[in-house]
């Protein structure tokens, strides 16, 4: 008998009242992986923890592609800083996530000068009023200012006029 034939597929098990719909179970799993919800019953906790970490590492890599200066400025602690910030926070897209992280670091006085330069450039080129809404390109000439860093945007081109002061 061909073991892979559909005839060999067992029928659905009797309905278990504790098992809810696939939609609800997928939602509970994603919430546990990215939003700090408790792990759904029955899953191996170590495997879920490893998955959670792998998802954070992947997000860190994607964010670093949009925010290479921020990531470089935080080297060698980039992964650690990003994972600490992102743990339990659902993914919002790499551009927004770097933006939120940079803002938070700025408020805490921990934004490295390279990150300030990069945030100023993004601010000059894009309008990002609030989390949850995607940044939009600015149509009119505009500028961004973060700490000592100043960037201007004209006709879609962004130029860093002054870098943030490098700590010595």
């Amino acid at each position: 008998m061909n073991p892979a034939s559909p005839a060999n597929v067992p029928a659905t098990r009797p309905t278990d009242p504790t098992v809810t719909t696939l939609a609800a179970r997928q939602a509970a799993l994603v919430a546990a992986l990215v939003a700090g919800a408790p792990p759904p019953p029955g899953f191996a906790p170590e495997a879920l923890a490893a998955t959670r970490t792998a998802l954070l590492r992947k997000r860190a890599g994607e964010t670093a592609r949009y925010w290479p200066l921020l990531a470089t400025g935080l080297h060698p602690r980039w992964l650690e800083v990003f994972q600490h910030w992102a743990a339990g926070r659902p993914p919002a897209g790499a551009l927004c996530e770097g933006w939120e992280l940079a803002r938070q670091l700025q408020r805490a006085g921990e934004l490295p000068p390279l990150g300030a330069d990069e945030l100023a450039c993004w601010q000059a080129g894009y309008h990002y009023p609030e989390p949850g809404r995607p940044p939009r390109p600015r149509r009119l000439p505009s500028w961004g200012r973060v700490g000592g860093a100043v960037a201007i945007q004209f006709a879609g081109r962004v130029r860093l006029l002054r870098s943030a002061r490098r700590r010595t």
Binding site: A4, L22, Q26, T53, A54
Partner: protein, 272 residues
């Protein structure tokens, strides 16, 4: 078999120059979500098309395995990219990437249940109705299994392929990763999958971390994965192989050597 033939590479902006310099390249894969539906294609991709290099749009965010119906706008986007690239085949995953309003950020495995088979087949049918070309479905790598799997992996995948008529995009690195993380023999799966349905196979390098093998695409293809490609070809040689690399890009010579090694193992023409 519809689709690519020969040895290809995953096109990424970071290695566009390297890919442009491969004289014998028959095809590339491009992440569908990275191409704007209204065009234009990145200039380097247009240049490849003009050279006759085929493009396979590869979706990563359709969430065909989601319990909810697949988002028609995402299907329309994949269809538009297929038209833009004049593709003969598109590919996506047997996985879900969001649920309950939250994005997971990566491909998550389905429970291997009848309910999940029904859900994914319904979504594949919805996508097939709108796509201009056939679709190949790729099983994913996962670090965990659902607690109440009813089917083993081969039966689960075969059932989905039978019910949808889709091609199989077999990722050999995923087969290796899953077997290694479950303590299983990857050959058992190869022996039971319908290999004649493979449109093309993915090959990539991964890394060991925290006791798990992660399919990261950021390392060279390891000898055991290359050996497994050989095992696949011994059983049923797929029409095409594709090298995936997604970061930590090596010098061009190293990437060329990886492509040459794959061509040798797969019995395919050298592309470098």
């Amino acid at each position: 078999m519809t689709g690519p033939v020969g040895l290809g590479i995953g096109w990424r902006p970071e290695i566009a120059g390297f890919v442009a310099g491969l004289p014998g390249l028959p095809f590339v894969e491009v992440i569908a979500e990275s191409v704007p539906a209204a065009g234009p294609l990145p200039a380097e991709l247009t240049a490849l098309r003009e050279r006759g290099v085929a493009v396979v749009p590869h979706g990563v965010r359709l969430s065909l395995g989601g319990a909810e119906p697949v988002d028609p706008a995402r299907v329309a986007h994949l269809a538009a990219v297929a038209e833009l690239t004049d593709a003969a085949l598109v590919s996506e995953h047997i996985a879900f990437v969001r649920a309950g309003g939250l994005e997971a950020g990566h491909l998550l495995p389905l429970p291997r249940s009848r309910e999940a088979v029904t859900a994914v087949c319904a979504n594949v049918a919805r996508a097939q109705a709108e796509l201009p070309v056939p679709v190949a479905l790729e099983p994913v790598a996962a670090l965990f299994d659902w607690p109440d799997d009813e089917l083993d992996e081969a039966a689960f995948l075969t059932e989905i392929l039978d019910r949808t008529g889709a091609h199989l995009l077999l990722d050999i690195a995923n087969v290796y990763a899953n077997a290694r993380n479950r303590g299983a023999d990857p050959l058992d799966l190869l022996d039971r999958l319908p290999l004649e349905r493979v449109a093309y196979a993915h090959v990539a390098g991964g890394a060991e971390q925290d006791g798990y093998y992660h399919d990261t695409h950021t390392s060279p293809v390891s000898p055991p994965v290359l050996d497994l490609v050989g095992e696949l070809c011994t059983r049923h040689r797929p029409p095409a192989l594709l090298l995936e690399r997604d970061g930590n890009y090596p010098p061009a010579a190293a990437l060329r050597a990886e492509l040459d090694a794959l061509a040798a193992v797969g019995g395919l023409p050298v592309v470098t």
